[in-house]
Structures are given as C-alpha cells and as structure tokens.
Amino acid sequence: MSNKKKVGEIDDSLKELTKKIDNIKKENINKSSKYQNKQFSGFSHAFKIVSDLFANILVGGAIGWTLDYYFNTKPILLIIFLIIGFISGIYTSYKSTKKLQNIE
C-alpha cells in the first residue's frame, strides 16, 4: 500500500517538474525572440512605414487610373482612389505601430 502511494506521489512530482521545465522553455523562447526583435525593430519599422505610405498611394492611383480608363470617367475615380490610397497608407502604418506597442 505504502509503496503504491509513493509511486503516485512520484508521478505527481514528475508532472510538476515537466510543467516547470515547459514553462522555463517557453520563457526562454520569448526572451530570445524579444531580444532579437528589439535590436532591429526600430529600424525595420521605420523603413516599413516610409515605403508603406508611398506604395499605398501608388497602388491607389494605379487602381483609380485603370478603372477610369475602362469606364471613361476620367479624373473622378483617380481622385477617389488616390484619397483611399492615402488613407490606407496612414491606416496601415497606424495598425503596424499599434501591433508593435502590443508586443512591447
């Protein structure tokens, strides 16, 4: 009887140990990735925002111009989509900045 109890206790402590080890492993992964990210995240984020602003306006203008060409509505859609492109450029950089803040 007493032997069986001991086996059960050992099982429990083993489970606790595996839990502890798992937790430490998780923490280590998080630590290393955070450290890795912090080194370059500022730079990469700055580059991302600059080119996002540019590319969104470009794509908006291209879509507007193409639709104008097919529907014969010359400047109207171009203007609308340029504005949409501008808004989406700011919206994208706002979203990615918010994500960055959540990580930190």
Partner: protein, 244 residues
C-alpha cells in the same frame, strides 16, 4: 572626362554573352552573372562552413550558425510553430538578398537588388505564396482579412477598399523599399566620389565622408535583407491567422 561618368552608369545592364531562344533574349548579363556568383558563393560557403561540425565553432561555422539562429528566432516569434515549415524559404530569401547587397558594395561589381524588377519578382513570389496559402488553408473565409471584426455597418464600404488597397500594396512596398534603398545609397556614394576628383586637395573631406557612408551602406545592406525576411514572415502569418 568627368561628364561621361554619370552616377547612374553603375546600374546599366550590359550583355556579356548573347543568347537567344526564338524571340526571347536570354543573354548572360552582368546582373545574371552576379546572381550566379551569389548562388555559388552561398552554396560553397554554407557547405564548407558546416562541414566540420565542431562543438566549439570556428569563425566560418559561427557565422553560418548565427545567421541560421537569427532567422530561426525571427520565424519562430512571428509564425510560431508554423514557422518551421516556412523557415527554409525565409532563410534562402534572406541569404540571397544579403549577399546580393553585400557583393554590390565591392567597387566595380553590380548591385542586383538595385533593380526594381528583381526585388519585385522576389516580393511578388512571397505575395503569391501568402495569398494561395491563405485560400488553401481557409477557403473563402480568407476574405475576412479585408473585414476586421466589430466594424459598424456604415463603415464597411469605406474600410473594405482601404484594406484591399493596403493588401495589394504589400509586394510593391517590399520591392520599392529594397530597390530604392540600394539605389539611393550607391548613387550618393558615386556623387560624392565625383566631388573628390573635382575638389583636388580638398577632396579629402568628401573622401572621409565616403568612408563613413560605406559603413552606413553596409549596415543598410544587412538591415534591408533582415527587413525583407521579417516582413515575409509577417505577411505569411496573416495567411495563417487572417482574423487579426
């Protein structure tokens, strides 16, 4: 003498060996020669560096291991466990762009990544992969990416075009960032190099400036390759979890 050397001359593509299949020009140019060189150097370096597999790594082995670990951690932190399957792709992209940028810094060589068509081809490949992967994993639910949760109904006609434009602009943003950074840096160096010739003895000032610029350019060459890898991870992670 100086008028003939435009700062943009370094980006012209020259045919080294002319080849044609039908009407398609497949000549060996200085650009494709550089790419072949990059692939050769990359393969030889990585195979040679990891040949010994000593516990205490030597110089080459530790460079190979560092680059591997850096990209592995990046894919892990951005993609989680799904990152293991995509790690080879991200690592290949990173090493290829890094070596293209770095070899371009050697005088008289050619910077492959300064041409927007090449960076766009790389970026569009990533974009296609992310889109196809998203539709394969989620079916039509992948379109939820364009409609964030908890949006009021009257905002939908405004928000959906915005999300679509921002999605399409991803590969263009990737391509323009890399190409513009490489081209701008190399052009600035060339412009300041022409000042050295013109200024005579006072040319020492721009010469010193070029030295500093070269350090900055090396940093940017590395950083742009890293940014490309990180954003590849980010875009692909959207196709795994489109709900965010």
């Amino acid at each position: 003498m100086t008028e003939k050397h435009s700062p943009l001359d370094q980006f012209t593509i020259q045919r080294i060996f002319e080849m044609k299949i039908g009407n398609i020009d497949i000549s060996l140019t200085n650009s494709s020669l550089m790419m072949i060189a990059v692939l050769l150097i990359l393969n030889v370096f990585l195979i040679y560096a990891t040949k010994k597999k000593s516990v205490v790594p030597g110089r080459l082995q530790s460079i190979a291991e560092m680059s591997y670990e850096m990209i592995y951690n990046t894919t892990q932190s951005n993609l989680g466990n799904d990152g293991k399957r995509l790690f080879p792709l991200v690592y290949t992209l990173f090493m290829f762009i890094l070596l293209c940028n770095m070899l371009g810094l050697i005088p008289y060589s050619f910077t492959v990544t300064s041409h927007i068509i090449i960076t766009f081809a790389l970026a569009f490949g990533v974009f296609l992969l992310a889109t196809i992967l998203g539709f394969v994993l989620h079916g039509h639910k992948y379109l939820r990416l364009f409609l964030p949760k908890g949006v009021p109904i009257f905002l939908i006609p405004i928000l959906v075009p915005i999300e679509i434009v921002s999605y399409i602009s991803r590969p263009i943003s990737l391509a323009v960032r890399l190409a513009a950074n490489m081209m701008a840096g190399h052009t600035i160096i060339k412009v300041f190099a022409s000042f050295v010739v013109v200024l005579g003895i006072w040319g020492i000032a721009p010469l010193l400036f070029i030295v500093v610029l070269y350090v900055l350019e090396t940093l940017i060459a590395f950083l742009q390759a890293y940014v490309f890898a990180v954003l590849t991870c980010l875009y692909i992670s959207d196709s795994f979890h489109p709900e965010h």
